[in-house]
Symmetry: C2
Subunit: 349 residues, 2 copies
Amino acid sequence: MENTKNNATKLSELGEFGLIDYLTKNIKLRHKQTIKGVGDDAAILKFGTKNIVVTTDLLTEGVHFDLIYFPLKHLGYKAVVVNLSDIYAMNASPKQITVSIAISSKFSLEAVDQLYQGIYLACEKYNIDLIGGDTTSSLTGLTISITAIGEIEKEKITYRNGAKENNVICVSGDLGSAYLGLQLLEREKMVFKTNPNAKPKFDGYDYILERQLKPEARKDIIEFLAINHIVPTAMIDVSDGLSSELLHICKQSDVGCKIFEDKIPFSPIAKDMAAELNIDPTVCALNGGEDYELLFTISLDDYNKIKNDPNITPIGHITEKSLGLNLIARDGTEVPLKAQGWNSFNNEK
Amino acid sequence: MENTKNNATKLSELGEFGLIDYLTKNIKLRHKQTIKGVGDDAAILKFGTKNIVVTTDLLTEGVHFDLIYFPLKHLGYKAVVVNLSDIYAMNASPKQITVSIAISSKFSLEAVDQLYQGIYLACEKYNIDLIGGDTTSSLTGLTISITAIGEIEKEKITYRNGAKENNVICVSGDLGSAYLGLQLLEREKMVFKTNPNAKPKFDGYDYILERQLKPEARKDIIEFLAINHIVPTAMIDVSDGLSSELLHICKQSDVGCKIFEDKIPFSPIAKDMAAELNIDPTVCALNGGEDYELLFTISLDDYNKIKNDPNITPIGHITEKSLGLNLIARDGTEVPLKAQGWNSFNNEK
């Protein structure tokens, strides 16, 4: 009756991307409506004349969030936002979500209510309909699974695979803040464990805490691109860190890239926190993740349209594939970029 | 930093349906494309001229399945099927699914592979495209979240709310088998716990085991209805038990119903098992759940079209609301139907 446990290969040997590759390598698509399946921020389906965008994310307690410092209302908000971010990363407009939760009976109705207040707040802010879901119990912690559905005109669809040589690589907002916010929360959690009477030291760090606990999806950037008639050649949202996202774009577009360390946008507060924690902020941007900014490539013709926008920073350009993926450090040295993105199978506490 | 735990109301006080009602009572729908949100087997969205059907289910280890006796391949298959069943219950055709899993590192790659073999087998059998998902770790057991997307012509959409007085109540296949299969598995698990050398006694019970471990969704019934130009006035799939599903249809249609105990379809093997376990098979049908049959109501005009089909059984009729919901027992007594459907918040082991 038991499941075979022989010849066991550990999941941590593959990592998340390896596992996804393994599980999806033989996928057969049967319907002509399925325009794009696995392999981008979201899937694209064509129903009649409309293109539908679908994405889904699963968040589990202890892996994606720690309820010791994550207020449930914020968690509900963030769970929606991370899905909307994937829809925006296709250059699409999210319209609907389904929300499924599994909760242990240790949660009260009031706690679940808080979670949903955050979910509804995100729906209000981003103009989203909550259309369904599932609510069940779990033997242990909280799991949240959200699927988001959006709409897009065919000619605006932006995959990861269209980046071309000499395209300008742009990123919205700033990077590394969400990771530094998490480090601060983890530090204060440790302090609290040792001394429960100690007051957490959060003064002046609201910005990076908010980037971790209540991130926003870049709806404004998608609107800016539309108004300025820019269709990026490739786009992805920064959920796993700049390195990992650049690797996705370059691998799928069959190109290389060169980015400049001194162009990577940081908030002053993130820099302060990095200094205080003695971490290199560039490492936070490259490998931190959870910034939910948009990373995209545009043709040189479009460069003039974005160059004065304070929310968009050009950080480098696409090169031919043989040149590889490189970061030009502040001292001029060239450092190859590696995916040190998040392997949740190695991060179990 | 901690979440407020005051004025705590236990989730078990509300149950699953109470919690869903509470969480969704103030939902605002913002988009004209959202034709039907929460409250049926699936949501209906209108994109252009096409109607899209969306449903989602979350299965958690220890609550929805026990890996001691649930082979992972079967589990993957079932996880897909239960979602397709919801799409069929709208009278629609499923086309795509997304699959998200959270797994603890105790699972090997080979185990995850088995799970996906079942998922892909269901995709093949039901002609479904797997279009996306999320793969992450969990600190504890296995969680599977699937969203299914289907398509339907407007005039064929079948909600729960259209049942009319004198409509015939029909059910596909037979009922109670999945629950009895579960009872058998639980019995043998207990035997195994006491005596690990004992051989499980499953001989002759393949049918009810398969109904629990590898259920099918009633695609054939939807095809039969289409060929015979029958659009049910209301439809729901039997996931929580006949009582609970009849309550949903009658509440949403604002009607009553009368069903006859001697008309409820059982398999001979289910009857044998019920006798062996000393359980009333009618109770298994009413409150057992997981049969994934279709329960639907049709006008008297359509009755002749179904009456000779061996896969569809008329079990009663819709009455006016004031008469309530009643089962006419074999001895002629009238028994009011109650929702004793599954409250997962009370079922924690």
